[in-house]
C-alpha cells in the first residue's frame, strides 16, 4: 500500500446495522428478524464463527435466575457486588430476559446440565453448567440460517457517521485490502465488546496476548462513542480478573467445581478475611502477596483422580492452554496447587459497569445508536446470557426507528473519511531516526498506564499526581500516533494503527474517570492512594462527554429499578 494507492469505496445500506458479530450482536440480529420483516447487516472484524469473547468456549452460564430466585434478587446481588454503582433499571430489565435467552440457546443446540427431574442444575442460585465449547459456532449457525441477515466479515469499523446527533451509519475498512465501506442504516447497534490491551499485560514478552479478555477487542466501540460526543459512564470501574498464573485461565471452575480454597504460601486459607464481592476476593490475594505471604494458590491437592480428569476436560472446553500446561508439566491439579494472580485491568461493561450511558431501552445519547453487551455501561455482571438479553432489548427498541427514511451520506463526509485514512499512509518526507512503530507506541502506552494509572506494576495504585502524569504522557503519545505518519505496508498495518488510536482515546477517558472519583470504591480493582477510603458522597455515576475537543465530567444521581430512565 502506498500513499497514492486508490481506495475502493463500497456503499451498503440496510435497516438495522450491527457493529460486531459477537455475543450481543448475533443475538440482536436473530431477535430483530423474529420481530420484523426488515434486513440486518452485521459488520464484523473477524469471522462470526469464533470471533470475540466466546472463541475458545465458556464454562458456565454465570447469570441465570434459578428457582426460588427472582430478577430483583439478581439486581440486589449485582448492585451490592458493584458497591452500589450500577443502574437498577438496566439490571432489572436485563435480569428479566436471562432465562428466556438461555432457553433460546438450548433450542439452538447448547448442552446444559440437568438434574434428575430434567431441570437445569443450578448452582448457587444463578449459575448453570453447560458444555460451552461450541456456543459461538451454534450462534453463528443460527445467524447464517436467517436469509435477512447479511454478514460482512473481515471489516474493522472505525468511525460513526453522525449528523445533528443522529446516527446515519459507520465507516469500516477491510482488514485485507484497501476498501473503505460506507454502511448506512435506520438504526445502529454497537456491540463491539470491551477493551483489552490498554495496560501492560501479565506476560509482556512473547506471550503478551495470552490474556483473559480477547486482545482483538480493542475498544473500538468505546472510542467511536467518545469521539462522536456520546455520554459514557463508569470507566473508572476497571475489571481485574483473578486467574491461574501464566495461562490466565479462569479460576471459578476450581473454586466452585472442586471447592478449592484460596491459600497463601503458608498454607493459610485467607479468603474469608477480606469479604466476598468480586473485587474483595481479588483484594485478598493482592494483599497476601503484598504483605509477603505470596504466592497464593487454589488448594487442589488431594482431589480425587476422577475430579482431576474432569477438570482437565472442563478446561479443554474453555481454556485449553491450562490443560496443556497441566499435562506437559505433569503437575495436574491433584498433584500441585494452582497458583493464582491478578491480571492487568480491562474495560469491560459485562463484568463491571463501564461503557455507553444508555436509557432503559439501551439507546445511547446519540439518536438511533444502541449499545449492548460489554460495550454498554451501567449494568455489571451480565456475562453471556446478559449480553444476549441486552441484545434482545436493543433489537426490539430499534424497531421503533424502522419507519424513518434511510439516511444518505454526503460525498463530502465520505471523502473526509478517505482523507483521514490516507493521512496515516503519508510517508514523512524524511523518515526520522526516532520514528517509532505502532508496536513501540502501544508498548509505551501500556507502560504508562501500568506505572501511572494503576496497572499491575504499581500494585493497581494511583494518585492525583500519577494520573496527571499519565494524562500528559498519553496526550503526547496520541499526538505522536496521529501526526507521525507511520510507514505502513498494508491494510493490516493500517488496522493496527487505528486500534492504537482507539486505545489511546480510551486511555484518556479512563484516566479522567479515575481522577474524578476521589475515593477508593473497589479496592481490588484499584486504589486511589490520595483517597484510600470509600466516600458515600460518591454514591453517583461518573460520566463523561467530549465537547469541542475537551472531555467534560458529569456527575449523575443513582437510578433505581422500576424507574424508566430517559435521556
Amino acid at each position: 500500500m502506498n500513499p497514492e494507492m486508490k481506495w475502493e469505496i463500497k456503499k451498503l445500506t440496510t435497516d438495522f446495522l450491527i457493529l460486531g458479530g459477537g455475543t450481543a450482536g448475533c443475538y440482536a440480529a436473530l431477535t430483530f428478524c423474529e420481530h420484523s420483516g426488515g434486513h440486518v447487516l452485521i459488520a464484523e472484524k473477524a469471522n462470526i464463527k469464533r470471533s470475540g469473547c466466546l472463541a475458545a468456549g465458556v464454562n458456565a452460564i454465570n447469570a441465570y435466575i434459578a428457582p426460588g430466585k427472582t430478577p430483583r434478587s439478581y439486581v440486589d446481588y449485582a448492585r451490592a457486588d458493584a458497591e452500589g454503582i450500577a443502574r437498577g433499571d438496566l439490571l432489572l430489565t436485563m435480569s428479566e430476559g436471562l432465562n428466556r435467552a438461555v432457553r433460546k440457546l438450548e433450542e439452538l443446540g447448547l448442552v446444559i446440565l440437568k438434574d434428575e427431574s430434567g431441570r437445569y442444575a443450578a448452582r448457587g442460585g444463578r449459575n448453570i453448567k453447560i458444555n460451552g465449547e461450541n456456543i459461538k459456532p451454534l450462534l453463528a449457525r443460527a445467524v447464517a440460517g436467517q436469509p435477512r441477515i447479511t454478514i460482512l466479515e473481515r471489516v474493522s469499523v472505525f468511525e460513526y457517521i453522525v449528523r445533528d446527533n443522529r446516527i446515519l451509519g459507520a465507516f469500516a475498512i477491510s482488514v485485507d485490502e484497501p476498501v473503505l465501506y460506507v454502511l448506512t442504516a435506520k438504526a445502529v447497534l454497537c456491540a463491539t465488546g470491551g477493551a483489552a490491551g490498554l495496560y501492560k499485560p501479565n506476560s509482556p514478552g512473547f506471550s503478551r496476548h495470552k490474556m483473559w479478555y480477547p486482545p482483538f477487542n480493542t475498544g473500538a466501540g468505546y472510542a467511536m462513542g467518545i469521539r462522536a460526543g456520546a455520554e459514557m459512564t463508569t470507566f473508572e470501574m476497571r475489571f481485574v480478573a483473578l486467574r491461574c498464573k501464566d495461562t490466565i485461565a479462569p479460576t471459578g471452575t476450581l473454586a466452585q467445581g472442586v471447592s478449592a480454597k484460596q491459600v497463601n504460601t503458608l498454607g493459610e486459607v485467607y479468603e474469608q478475611q477480606y469479604g466476598l464481592t468480586t473485587s474483595q476476593r481479588l483484594y485478598g490475594t493482592l494483599t497476601e502477596n503484598r504483605e509477603g505471604r505470596g504466592p497464593c494458590y487454589l488448594r487442589t491437592v488431594g482431589i480425587t483422580a476422577e475430579q482431576d480428569e474432569d477438570l482437565q476436560k472442563a478446561y479443554l472446553n474453555m481454556a485449553p492452554s491450562q490443560t496443556l500446561k497441566w499435562i506437559e508439566s505433569g503437575r495436574t491439579p491433584a498433584v500441585a496447587n494452582v497458583e493464582i494472580a491478578g491480571t492487568e485491568p480491562y474495560i469491560v461493561g459485562g463484568h463491571t459497569a463501564s461503557g455507553y450511558w444508555v436509557d432503559t431501552k439501551r439507546e445511547t445519547t446519540i439518536r438511533g445508536l444502541f449499545a449492548a453487551g460489554d460495550v454498554a455501561g451501567g449494568c455489571p455482571q451480565k456475562y453471556v446470557s446478559g449480553a444476549f438479553a441486552e441484545g434482545e432489548i436493543a433489537a426490539k427498541s430499534a424497531l421503533s426507528h424502522m419507519d424513518a427514511a434511510t439516511p444518505v451520506v454526503w460525498e463530502t463526509e465520505i471523502q473526509k473519511a478517505r482523507r483521514f485514512l490516507e493521512s496515516f499512509l503519508r510517508q514523512p518526507s524524511k523518515k526520522s531516526v526516532d520514528q517509532r512503530s505502532v508496536d513501540q507506541l502501544e508498548e509505551e502506552m501500556q507502560a504508562v498506564m501500568d506505572e501511572y494509572a494503576g496497572g499491575i506494576g504499581s500494585g493497581y495504585r494511583y494518585s492525583e499526581q500519577s494520573l496527571a502524569a499519565a494524562a500528559e504522557k498519553i496526550r503526547a503519545l496520541a499526538e505522536e500516533a496521529e501526526t507521525n505518519a507511520l510507514a505502513l505496508a498494508d491494510a493490516r498495518a493500517l488496522v493496527y494503527s487505528l486500534e492504537l488510536r482507539e486505545r489511546l482515546t480510551l486511555c484518556n477517558s479512563v484516566i479522567a474517570h479515575l481522577a474524578a472519583r476521589k475515593e477508593t470504591r473497589w479496592p481490588g480493582f484499584g486504589e486511589n492512594t490520595d483517597y484510600p477510603e470509600r466516600n458515600d458522597a460518591y454514591n453517583l455515576y461518573i460520566n463523561s462527554k467530549r465537547e469541542n475537543g475537551k472531555l467534560k465530567i458529569l456527575f449523575r444521581p443513582l437510578v433505581k429499578e422500576g424507574e424508566i430512565y430517559e435521556h
Partner: protein
C-alpha cells in the same frame, strides 16, 4: 501463546485462516503461516478447524512452556485432543460435545 503449522502436513485448505478471531493466519503459496505468533491469543479455534492435524498449540517459554504440542480432531460429536509431551509421548483426551461440564 501460539500455534505452529507443520509444512508438508498442511494442505493449504485455508480453514484456519478464515476462522482466527485475530485474522492472524495467511496462506503463503500452498501452506498456512502465522506471521506474528506473538499476537496469538491461544484460543485454539484454528486448531479445531484443521482437517489435516497440521496445526498445534504450544505454550511460550515465557509462561513456562516446556515444548509440548496440542492438536485436536473433531469427529461427529467428539473432540479428540492429542497432546505430545516434550519427550514425544502422546496422550489423548476425548470429549463428548453432547455432555455438559460437571464443574
Amino acid at each position: 501463546m501460539s500455534i505452529e503449522i507443520t509444512r508438508g502436513v498442511c494442505t493449504g485448505c485455508g480453514k484456519c485462516a478464515a476462522v482466527c478471531p485475530g485474522s492472524l493466519i495467511k496462506l503463503a503459496g500452498d501452506a498456512a503461516v502465522i506471521e506474528r505468533p506473538e499476537r496469538c491469543w491461544g484460543c485454539a479455534s484454528c486448531v479445531k478447524e484443521c482437517p489435516a492435524g497440521a496445526m498445534a498449540l504450544y505454550l511460550g517459554e515465557d509462561i513456562g512452556g516446556l515444548g509440548g504440542r496440542m492438536t485436536v480432531k473433531c469427529e461427529g460429536g467428539l473432540l479428540h485432543w492429542r497432546i505430545t509431551m516434550p519427550d514425544g509421548t502422546p496422550k489423548t483426551i476425548a470429549i463428548d460435545s453432547r455432555v455438559s461440564n460437571r464443574y
